[in-house]
């Protein structure tokens, strides 16, 4: 049972129109460098002392961790309005929706494979804009995430740092002076900090220079991941670049490396590639962009990945000034709405794969010809 005084259990359907893209911070299209950077994200991994890590905790212990975390989050006051969801009590459709919105990870969606029944786990998310979220009982007891539209790792870090301090006044974190914040996976130990930027790099993909970026990032011990994090493909030419090492560097060093040095370099590289395409291969670029737009406004059946690929090229067309009647925010919003769970929520019923392809094509035609 939740501790007395905590927020009431949440109804299965979150009350803020979760199929709508308006509350999604990373789709707002505001802030710095939004022609290339969709969003900035800061994540902190934290664990409570006196409990085994989440993977080794019993269901009773996980329930206790969930209760303590819920109280701590309430005391810390992370936002004016928050929504608490016990993931183990939500429907599979709602879980999928939260994954597509980047509020929870696939791991939290799945839960522990070896467990019989549903394992206590939850998430707290700030409203009306989903800027802050705290996952409980994922790989670590607490995973605090702050997302900002555009390139704003500094702001995201400041907010995450403040919430972390507030949480820490309510609970004791597992910490050692030598290894810092102790985490279930040794790759997160130290600061427990991962900073990442979600970048739209269609021009680098077309010129083939994306491979150079990936290699350079690897050499600098950075990770390049797809749209939905670890192990996911870079659908829609969206890439997340993040730090890999968390021990031996201060938070300020990690921030400066990414925010001031690496991400701006990648942005410039993408802009240069866009300029090259525009000046040297103008007709071919025009052709590609308008073919994509034509396909999206004409198709009767379309798969999510195909839709993402063409939306990416239309977004490139908007950012390079070739397409003037659409906004990049509309296109980014559609990148979310074409995902299976959002599509079904928009339509209002469950659909099989073929029906989804049809509904997706209809939605795209409607939204892009408005």
């Amino acid at each position: 049972m939740p501790p007395p005084g905590s927020q009431p259990s949440t109804p299965p359907n979150p009350p803020h129109h979760p199929h709508d893209e308006s509350g999604v911070e990373w789709l707002r299209g505001e802030g710095a460098e939004t022609d290339v950077v969709l969003s900035s994200r800061v994540r902190l991994a934290r664990n409570l002392t006196s409990f085994p890590f989440a993977n080794r905790a019993s269901s009773e212990q996980r329930q206790e961790i969930l209760d303590i975390s819920r109280s701590a989050v309430r005391v810390a006051g992370i936002a004016d309005r928050t929504l608490w969801l016990n993931i183990h009590e939500t429907s599979p459709a709602d879980r999928a929706l939260l994954v597509e919105r980047h509020i929870i990870s696939k791991q939290l969606q799945r839960g522990r494979a070896a467990t019989v029944g549903e394992d206590p786990r939850g998430v707290c998310v700030s409203l009306p804009v989903e800027r802050v979220s705290i996952m409980v009982n994922e790989e670590d007891h607490l995973r605090l995430q702050v997302v900002r539209s555009g390139l704003a790792l500094d702001e995201a870090w400041r907010q995450a740092d403040g919430i972390d301090d507030a949480l820490e006044s309510a609970v004791d974190y597992a910490y050692s002076p030598r290894l810092g914040y102790l985490t279930a996976c040794a790759t997160n130990v130290g600061t427990g900090l991962r900073m990442s930027a979600m970048l739209h790099l269609p021009a680098l993909k077309i010129t083939g220079d994306i491979e150079k970026v990936k290699k350079a990032a690897g050499d600098m011990c950075l990770a390049v991941r797809g749209f939905y994090g670890e192990g996911s493909e870079a659908v829609g030419d969206l890439y997340q670049i993040s730090n890999q090492t968390t021990l031996g560097k201060t938070e300020a060093m990690i921030l400066a490396d990414l925010h001031e040095r690496i991400i701006p370099q990648v942005i410039e590289y993408e802009r240069l590639a866009r300029k090259t395409l525009l000046t040297k291969r103008s007709l071919a670029l025009h052709d590609q962009v308008y073919r994509s737009l034509g396909l999206l406004t004409s198709a009767r059946l379309i798969a999510a990945e195909e839709a993402m690929q063409h939306l990416s090229l239309v977004r490139l067309g908007i950012c390079t000034g070739l397409v003037k009647h659409l906004s990049s925010k509309t296109v980014a919003g559609l990148m979310l709405l074409v995902q299976p769970a959002h599509l079904q929520r928009t339509v209002g019923r469950e659909l099989d794969q073929d029906a989804r392809r049809e509904a997706r094509a209809t939605l795209l035609r409607e939204r892009l010809s408005r």
Binding site: N47, T49, F51, P52, F53, N55, R56, E139, D161, D164, D165, E168, S169, D172, Y173, A174, Y175, S176, P177, R178, L179, G180, Y181, L182, A184, C185, A186, T187, V189, G190, T191, L193, C221, T245, T246, L247, G248, K249, T250, E251
Partner: protein, 178 residues
């Protein structure tokens, strides 16, 4: 020479001194295993190499579980996750090289300190300690590299010396942490 207990050739020779008297035993491999003065795996060259390269005590520790959560190092190798905060101490000797590799040589946290601990942490002392730890980590990395090279080029005597040096360094580190 024949085995003391059967007709096979004796390949294991044990000399002990009991109450001032020298006692010799000459056994074949099977009989030596039976009386417990040899193990079956000891003839495996890889195992012998492991004995040279791995510090003594490591093999026993391998089976030992974290006293707090019961996770063994083998569990960790399989699942990739530690079981509790105390695992970091329980498996320190084997974890630190992995951590060092994963964090580009980082072995000392230099970031945020929980507010509740700020009062306890004497800043200057911490800085000195951090510098010391870093220096040791650097030395350990160098020795580890030399050890790998020595094993590769089959210089086992040098490998053993380097292993001892590495072990001494780890002990210093552990003593420094207390």
């Amino acid at each position: 020479m024949k085995c003391d207990q059967c007709d096979n050739e004796a390949t294991v020779h044990e000399v002990t001194v009991r109450e001032g008297e020298k006692v010799e035993r000459h056994l074949c491999e099977q009989c030596a295993v039976q009386v417990g003065i040899a193990s079956e795996s000891s003839q495996n060259p890889i195992e012998i190499l492991k004995m040279i390269v791995e510090p003594p005590g490591t093999r026993q520790a391998k089976a030992a579980a974290c006293p707090t959560c019961g996770l063994t190092f083998e569990d960790f190798r399989t699942g990739g996750l530690l079981g509790c905060a105390n695992c970091y101490e329980s498996f320190e000797a084997r974890l630190l090289p992995l951590i060092e590799r994963a964090h580009e040589g980082g072995l000392q946290h230099t970031g945020k300190i929980p507010t509740r601990l700020c009062g306890q942490a004497e800043t200057s002392k911490r800085r000195v300690l951090a510098a010391l730890i870093e220096e040791r980590a650097h030395r350990a990395a160098t020795i580890r590299k030399q050890l790998e090279d020595a094993v590769k080029s089959e210089q086992y005597e040098r490998a053993a010396q380097l292993r001892d040096a590495l072990q001494k360094l780890t002990q210093e580190q552990a003593a420094g942490d207390e």
